[in-house]
């Protein structure tokens, strides 16, 4: 085989993986996603879900930390979450100290900010098979990302993120689909 044939052969051998890549990514995109940049943000930006981010202080001390702002949440939800958290984290009290209800947008990053100290960035990856939404999560503490995760948030099945220790207890970030 002469040198020219070898070069063409090498180029064609690169083409095959490229075609495979193209085929794998040749999923139909929504019209808006085919544009070079997302549309201007609007008051009715399409969302894949609505989530609730809850920040708990888990401790064995029954006294809740002093808070400037009173956080209110449905009592049944709080009781249910308390029971779930007790099955995972070895603490006797789970004090709700922050809350943020937020739409998860299709084309924009979404932030769940129940606290200035811990917040969660959510990128939607679309509806999940069997219900819920596929997401890419990033848990931030101040200027540092603590963990990145590809997860599925399913109805009735929250994600617990066990965060840093504080005052003999632990900060726990909960993200769940809002019913």
């Amino acid at each position: 085989m002469c040198v020219f044939d070898v070069r063409i052969f090498k180029m064609k051998s690169l083409l095959l993986p490229l075609l495979v890549l193209t085929a794998l990514h040749a999923r139909p995109l929504p019209v808006s996603a085919q544009e070079k940049r997302p549309p201007e943000p609007s008051a009715n930006a399409p969302a894949d879900a609505q989530v609730q981010g809850l920040l708990f202080f888990a401790a064995n001390d029954a006294t809740a930390p002093a808070q400037e702002e009173k956080v209110t949440v449905d009592a049944a939800l709080l009781k249910s979450m308390d029971g779930k958290l007790k099955k995972v984290f070895p603490f006797s009290n789970f004090h709700l100290i922050g809350k943020h209800t937020q739409k998860v947008f299709k084309e924009y990053e979404s932030w769940v900010v129940p606290s200035k100290d811990l917040c969660l960035k959510i990128d939607s990856r679309g509806p999940a098979e069997g219900g819920g939404v596929n997401v890419h999560l990033q848990l931030w503490q101040d200027t540092k990302v603590l963990v990145k995760s590809d997860s599925v948030i399913r109805p009735g099945q929250p994600i617990f993120l066990g965060g840093p220790n504080w005052r003999g207890g632990r900060l726990i970030f909960v993200v769940m689909l809002k019913p």
């Binding site: 930390p65 990053e109 129940p114 606290s115 603590l146 963990v147 504080w166």
Partner: protein, 222 residues
């Protein structure tokens, strides 16, 4: 079909000919060698056309949204693949081509590279066949090497748990500033996003600014 190339030309010269980087003297020399071989001219045009298509349709560089997370997922897939059990004491029937003989086949290199690309991307992007909530866990990556991150599904709590151990504790004298916020509308990257108080939906409470891959900056409004 590929044209035969004059043996007087080496690969480096041929490459520069295709890329249009010959000196005038070299060009004259090559033109003389190629006289009467129009097929080679068409091959050159085809190669230039292909290069143009690739440059037009593929970005010169492609940065994933979280390069470190992307790399960690590839490494996870490689570890998972390499830990698969290998069959032992398998007798190969006489006459069966050996693995090494396959390597020598001209079609093996492109096929293997295509297969490798397909496997990695299918593993990373393809649909997973375990939709059972109790079976699926989050894929996680902690950038800080001192942090041990573990993900599991708790059947009793019906929750996915991402447990981070080894984090720096929050100082005891620090107050955790928490909010009760309602949903906000999106903002362009780099533009501030305003969050409103859950108790008073017309009261702007917090402004968040972040760029792609940058830490969020939070400012509380009075």
């Amino acid at each position: 079909m590929n044209a035969n190339f004059p043996h007087d030309m080496n690969e480096e010269l041929m490459t520069r000919w295709i890329d249009g980087q010959l000196s005038p003297e070299e060009q004259v020399s090559v033109n003389r060698l190629l006289a009467g071989q129009p097929l080679l001219g068409r091959e050159k045009q085809a190669a230039l056309h292909l290069g143009g298509l690739l440059r037009t349709h593929l970005p010169s560089t492609l940065e994933p949204p979280s390069p470190d997370f992307f790399t960690s997922r590839i490494m996870d897939e490689i570890r998972a693949s390499s830990s698969m059990p290998v069959a032992k004491n398998v007798k190969v029937p006489a006459g069966t081509p050996s693995f090494w003989s396959w390597l020598k086949k001209p079609w093996f290199a492109p096929l293997a590279s295509a297969a490798a690309v397909a496997v990695v991307f299918a593993a990373l992007n393809g649909p997973h066949s375990n939709p059972s909530p109790s079976m699926e866990t989050a894929r996680i990556y902690a950038p800080d090497p001192n942090v041990v991150a573990k993900a599991f599904y708790s059947d009793s709590a019906e929750a996915t748990v991402i447990d981070l151990q080894g984090l720096q504790p929050v100082p005891n004298d620090r107050e955790i500033r928490a909010f009760d916020l309602a949903s906000s509308e999106p903002a362009e990257p780099g533009q501030p996003q305003v969050f409103y108080a859950a108790s008073a939906p017309d009261r702007a409470a917090v402004v968040l600014t972040s760029g792609t891959g940058q830490a969020p900056r939070l400012r509380e409004l009075p």
